[in-house]
């Protein structure tokens, strides 16, 4: 039954329960909430006070509303509401599902699959047998039960091509093989392809034909073209009516090797146009990294354009006449060329004979006049096959008679003898500047810096063809750069040197730009079918219908001409192909393609609206009712003042929800952050966990005793001491680390040592305690002392010396002579005083090191002497009788001095200057 548009109910009579709601309202209203119990000692003052108004307390209206909503949601939920209830389509007999299954529909393949599944379910309910025919991959028809097909739908992906006439012919053959009549559902992708009308009439002959087609605008991306240094990207569309904007992403590997979007460009369609292009200008290094272009947010093979060699780095061969003179690097033309080309091209240097077989893209001859005859022939042949020869003039070229009387094939123009020189000591005129580049020149659009001047050049003979060949000229019109085509390649001559001898051009950025324009404009054009005649190309990677690259595995090779000309199909899958050292990208669309929307005959019913799936709402409504009831519980508790009891429960629930949402890592992180925040807000003493429980416990209680003493006697009030695990914990929060040595504690890892050294360098202090009375440093080595040596070997510890009598530790807070712990005799070692510290007459102390000693090493077991239990009573006996208590007191005093020293540095040392300062001020 359908009550509202788009919503139906399975058991509508349950809705009558809604009538009971007003009664529920009245009932709930009469029951007041329970009183809040509060402990309140001043209740004596309340005794005898009566309420003024006899107010009968009622449940607040919003709570009532909440409960009623919960009940209503439950009632409606139980009556089984369904969104978009499917109208059942009648039909009997076998059913054929025809799929285009081309790349065009890949973008909304998921909806398409759901649609097919729902149709299959329907057919299964009606007991119809079903066959399925994919036009891109036709197979003989098998009429089977719908359930069998339903399990196979997930495996039927779109193919990266459109149905071609061969496949349609195969499909027609399969159709005629079926004897019975059947109805047909055709899931079309919405684009026109040849021979579709034959299929339509064949299907209509067998039974009813219904077409499901989404009316979405289909987009496709043509292969990227390189033109004049820019990448041209063309996007096709099937619906031409509206204005539209599409973003094309250029993807590739970054230097770290991860795929990412390297650039993006937006393509604007004006109304009524089926294709639009955009130019993308990128630094050539970045351009070489691009592996594919794709339309943003469209998952389809047609929205992907793979790139091949045409975007890769040029290979440039540098050939110079002169042998390299190491002393004169800045005079060598090669130096300027290398500097200009290194970032964008692969450079080779060497002799022409060696480099030509490598088949570089560009050969640069810097002031090379004459070539050997065979070399010249080879070079000419290379140029005619599409190479680019770039020549620079120079003294040698000017002095030679090459291309003098008649044009040399490897020179673009004839040259006059000698050349000219401007602005020199013996000539009139100023050095010339460049004229703006003409439209049609490859340099057009480059800005010419003012400081670029030319003082010498070789001159071109005036010829009828000269004007066409000039692509850059000086201010007076004399040619600076000339170019001529030779076969498929070209020859370019700079009439100046490639070094700064004749012109300042090589010093400016314009030189780099010009070289780039030239090198780019010779970029490999997509090879024509003739070039590919006789070659076999093997697929390396192929695209699937969604535009994902997959391994080609055992696919057969493809003939060269076919690769460029044939339409994509099962024998020619779009992807990357390889032959020898060359790679070619074959994309789904080719330059001449069009996307034309399919037009159906008038008698074929076309269902174009995307049918929304049936959706049961009952579960949602019942969960809503549960949520409302939970809210009601919380609200009732809050009203009766009991919410504080359930706060922990709420916390638990909240944490559970957070865990469920996959936040545990974050909350753990936050927890750690909060811990660290807590640590940093208060000073705490820390000891290193040795792994020996007893030692750790004594160290901990020792630091507690020291903290208590500090809090009681000084303005340092540490919080509870902390045991730190060197492998895990952050050390930066602790000014002092107490490190008791045990013979069997593990050596910290390298990472822990890195952090320990950072800790020491940034002002931390470690108190090493071997706890064995007097053996440290005294040659004889106890187990603990040996362990200390092992542990400290990787630490960044300065030279040490036994504590001198005038060290600031002796007077940081208390005046101390010795530093007993539980033992009395051990020596204390600290950072050695600088060598230049000397005793000044009349001064009690030397002017010692500026700063805090990073380590203090001793053996007196201070932790044990400081240790107190929870109630502040000493934990371990020290010495005997009163003398022992005195020793304990001195141990505490040492601890206080130590912490003062860490926190105040050499403050007490500075006090020794006070008399001198006062003396000076007095005079």
């Amino acid at each position: 039954m359908t009550l509202l548009a788009g919503i139906g109910f399975t058991t509508p009579w349950l809705l009558l329960g809604l009538l009971a709601l007003p009664i529920l309202w009245l009932l709930l209203r009469a029951v007041p909430p329970a009183p809040v119990r509060r402990v309140f000692p001043a209740v004596t003052l309340l005794l005898g006070l009566s309420d003024d108004e006899s107010l009968s307390d009622r449940t607040p209206w919003w709570l009532l509303l909440l409960r009623l909503l919960a009940v209503a949601a439950a009632i409606i939920g139980l009556s089984g509401p369904v969104l978009n209830p499917a109208p059942s389509t009648a039909g009997r007999g076998p059913l054929l599902l025809v799929l285009d299954a081309s790349w065009v529909g890949a973008d909304n393949w998921r909806q398409r699959r759901e649609q097919i599944t729902s149709k299959l379910t329907e057919a299964g309910r009606a007991g119809r047998t079903v066959a399925l025919l994919r036009l891109t991959a036709p197979e003989p028809l098998q009429f089977q039960s719908a359930d069998v097909w339903r399990s196979r739908v997930a495996g039927l992906g779109p193919q990266p091509w459109q149905p071609n006439p061969d496949q349609i012919a195969t499909a027609l053959d399969h159709l005629t093989a079926v004897e019975t009549g059947f109805d047909t559902l055709w899931f079309a992708d919405g684009l026109e392809y040849p021979d579709r009308d034959q299929l339509i009439s064949a299907l209509q002959a067998r039974g009813e034909l219904q077409v499901h087609q989404t009316s979405a605008n289909r987009l496709g991306l043509l292969p990227a073209q390189v033109a004049d240094g820019a990448i041209e990207l063309t996007v096709l569309r099937s619906h031409t009516s509206a204005e539209q904007q599409v973003t094309v992403l250029a993807q590739g590997r970054d230097p770290g090797g991860t795929m990412r979007v390297l650039a993006s460009v937006s393509v604007d369609f004006t109304a009524g146009v089926d294709r639009a292009s955009a130019r993308l200008i990128l630094p050539s290094q970045l351009r070489a990294r691009i592996t594919r272009f794709e339309l943003q947010r469209i998952r389809s093979a047609g929205a992907v354009a793979l790139t091949d060699d045409s975007l890769r780095r040029r290979e440039v061969a540098l050939i110079s006449s002169q042998t390299d003179n190491e002393g004169l690097v800045l005079l060598s033309p090669m130096h300027y060329l290398r500097q200009a080309l290194q970032p964008t091209a692969e450079l080779f240097e060497g002799g022409l004979g060696d480099l030509l077989p490598a088949n570089p893209d560009v050969i640069i001859l810097a002031d090379v006049a004459r070539l050997a005859e065979t070399e010249e022939e080879q070079l000419t042949e290379w140029v005619e096959k599409g190479g680019m020869l770039l020549r620079f003039a120079g003294p040698r070229l000017a002095a030679s008679d090459i291309s003098r009387d008649e044009e040399h094939p490897l020179m673009p123009v004839r040259l006059r003898s000698g050349g000219r020189s401007l602005g020199g000591a013996m000539s009139w005129g100023e050095p010339k500047t460049l004229a703006p580049f003409q439209q049609g020149s490859p340099f057009y659009g480059l800005t010419i810096p003012e400081e670029v001047t030319v003082s010498s050049q070789v001159m071109a003979q005036p010829d009828p063809s000269l004007a066409d060949r000039v692509i850059a000229a000086l201010g007076d019109g004399t040619p600076l750069v000339t170019r001529k085509a030779l076969g498929q390649g070209q020859v370019v001559l700079f009439h100046v040197t490639a070094n700064a001898e004749w012109t300042s051009l090589p010093l400016s950025g314009l030189f780099v730009d010009m070289l780039e324009r030239l090198a780019v404009s010779t970029a490999a054009k997509p090879p024509s079918a003739d070039d590919l005649e006789g070659t076999i190309w093997t697929p390396i990677k192929v695209l699937d219908g969604f535009g994902r690259l997959g391994e080609a595995d055992t696919l057969p090779g493809v003939n060269g001409p076919e690769l460029m000309e044939a339409a994509a199909g099962p024998d020619l899958r779009p992807g990357l192909y390889d032959s020898g050292s060359r790679t070619l990208a074959r994309n789904v669309l080719r330059a001449g393609d069009q996307l034309q929307p399919a037009i159906w005959p008038r008698d074929v019913p076309v269902i174009s609206a995307a049918a929304s799936a049936e959706r049961a709402l009952g579960g949602m409504l019942i969960s809503l009712a549960l949520v409302l009831l939970a809210l009601d519980v919380a609200a009732s508790l809050a009203l009766s003042g009991l919410l504080h009891l359930s706060r922990t429960a709420a916390l638990v629930l909240g944490l559970a929800a957070a865990a469920w949402l996959g936040l545990p890592a974050q909350s753990a992180l936050a927890q750690q952050g909060a811990d660290q925040l807590g640590l940093s807000s208060e000073l705490a003493l820390a000891h290193v966990l040795t792994g020996d429980d007893q030692v750790d416990e004594i160290a901990h209680s020792g630091l507690r005793g020291l903290s208590n003493t500090l809090a009681f006697r000084t303005s340092i009030e540490p919080s509870l001491p902390v045991g730190v695990d060197l492998e895990r914990d952050e050390l930066a929060f602790y000014p002092l680390l107490y490190w008791p040595i045990t013979p069997d504690q593990p050596r910290p890892s390298a990472a822990a040592y890195t952090r320990l050294n950072a800790y020491l360098r940034t002002g931390g202090m470690i108190l090493f305690d071997t706890r064995d009375a007097n053996l440290v440093g005294a040659g004889a080595s106890s187990a603990n002392a040996r362990k200390l040596q092992q542990l400290a070997r990787s630490l960044d510890i300065p030279p040490l010396e036994p504590l001198p009598a005038d060290h600031v530790l002796t007077r940081a807070f208390y005046l101390l002579q010795d530093f007993p712990g539980r033992h009395q005799r051990g020596e204390l070692w600290v950072e050695a005083a600088p060598a230049d510290a000397e005793h000044i007459e009349g001064m009690p102390f030397r002017n010692l090191n500026d700063g805090v000693t990073p380590v203090v090493i001793g053996s007196n077991d201070w932790g044990a002497a400081w240790a107190v239990d929870n109630n502040g009573r000493p934990l371990l006996p020290v010495g005997r009788g009163f003398a022992g208590e005195r020793q304990r007191e001195l141990a505490y005093r040492f601890g206080v001095n130590l912490v003062m020293h860490v926190l105040t540095g050499n403050y007490k040392s500075d006090q020794v200057h006070v008399p001198a300062l006062l003396d000076r001020l007095g005079q």
Binding site: P32, P33, A34, P35, V36, R37, R38, V39, F40, P41, A42, V43, T44, L45, L46, L47, L49, D51, D52, E53, S54, L55, S56, D57, L639, G641, N708, A711, F712, N871, G872, R873
Partner: protein, 295 residues
């Protein structure tokens, strides 16, 4: 072989250790609090028996000759007598309400009233003991004594709780002309306090009352249907609309305070008010100066 006496004695010892184990935190807190007040004025500010010099005065007839200070007198014609400051130990009786009503804190981050009261009493006692006074509890439990050991005994006495809701002030065995320090919330029966203070005044005792209240007892931030209970649950009062009681409650609280002030004026005592939400240090300073004034 263990004699029953011995085992009894060791059991007692153990229990005492356990009981004393809880003292140090209170002691340390009180010591730290007391450490924040510097002892400045010990003397009685009048001539009398003592060690410290007070003043020179001209010898008068009747003064013994050996009282003359010859060093001062030799500078002039007159004869001077060197007087010393009168220093005498005072006796202070302390009473802290250990009743149930004091074991209350309205929020978890506030201390209970009884904790604050004990801490203040002990800190004040430490100060007075350091000043050389004799300090003890009212009643016969802990008679006044001087010396540092008394701090421990007082701390031990403060660790006992009273089971009743509202403990009446202990007013037995008070030494005449001593000083008194009573700390309570004074929410219990008023006539008991009246009786105690009356008796104290009869014996010439003067001193300080410190009322310790929880902030919620001052603000009464309640509303809705509420059942108010005393701490042990002995007293109850139910109301349908707590917010309507607020004004009348505050009125009664003010009345109670008026009563306390009148009582104090009549008996020569001083009264102070402290909220557990405030710092203990200001209360201690006030207590210290109030005790100074009543000396």
């Amino acid at each position: 072989m263990t004699s029953p006496h011995l085992s009894q004695a060791t059991g007692l010892r153990r229990r005492a250790e356990i009981a004393a184990g809880s003292l140090p935190p209170l002691l340390v807190q009180a010591e730290q609090l007391a450490g924040s007040v510097l002892l400045g004025e010990h003397g009685r500010r009048r001539a009398g028996m003592g060690d410290d010099f007070w003043q020179y005065r001209v010898a008068q007839p009747g003064d013994s000759r050996n009282m003359i200070d010859h060093r001062r007198s030799a500078r002039g014609d007159q004869q001077f007598i060197r007087e010393r400051e009168w220093q005498i130990a005072q006796t202070v009786h302390v009473w802290v309400d250990q009743g149930g009503s004091m074991r209350f804190a309205s929020k978890p981050d506030l201390p209970q009233k009884i904790d604050r009261a004990r801490k203040l009493a002990l800190a004040a006692s430490i100060l007075m003991l350091r000043g050389g006074e004799r300090v003890g509890l009212t009643g016969t439990a802990l008679p006044p004594r001087s010396g540092n050991m008394q701090v421990l005994r007082m701390a031990e006495a403060f660790s006992l709780n009273d089971d009743t809701d509202y403990a009446p002030p202990e007013h037995h065995a008070m030494i005449p002309h001593a000083r008194g320090l009573f700390i309570s919330d004074f929410l219990g029966p008023f006539d008991e306090l009246q009786l105690a203070l009356g008796k104290a005044a009869d014996r010439g005792l003067r001193g300080v009352l410190l009322q310790v209240l929880d902030p919620s007892e001052e603000a009464f931030p309640f509303s809705g249907r509420t059942l108010f209970e005393s701490v042990t649950g002995g007293l109850r009062h139910e109301t349908l609309k707590a917010s309507a009681l607020r004004d009348r409650y505050l009125e009664r609280l003010a009345e109670r305070r008026d009563g306390l002030e009148t009582l104090c004026r009549a008996t020569g005592w001083q009264i102070g008010l402290h909220h557990t939400g405030d710092s203990a240090q200001t209360a201690l300073l006030w207590l210290y100066h109030a005790l100074e004034r009543t000396r």
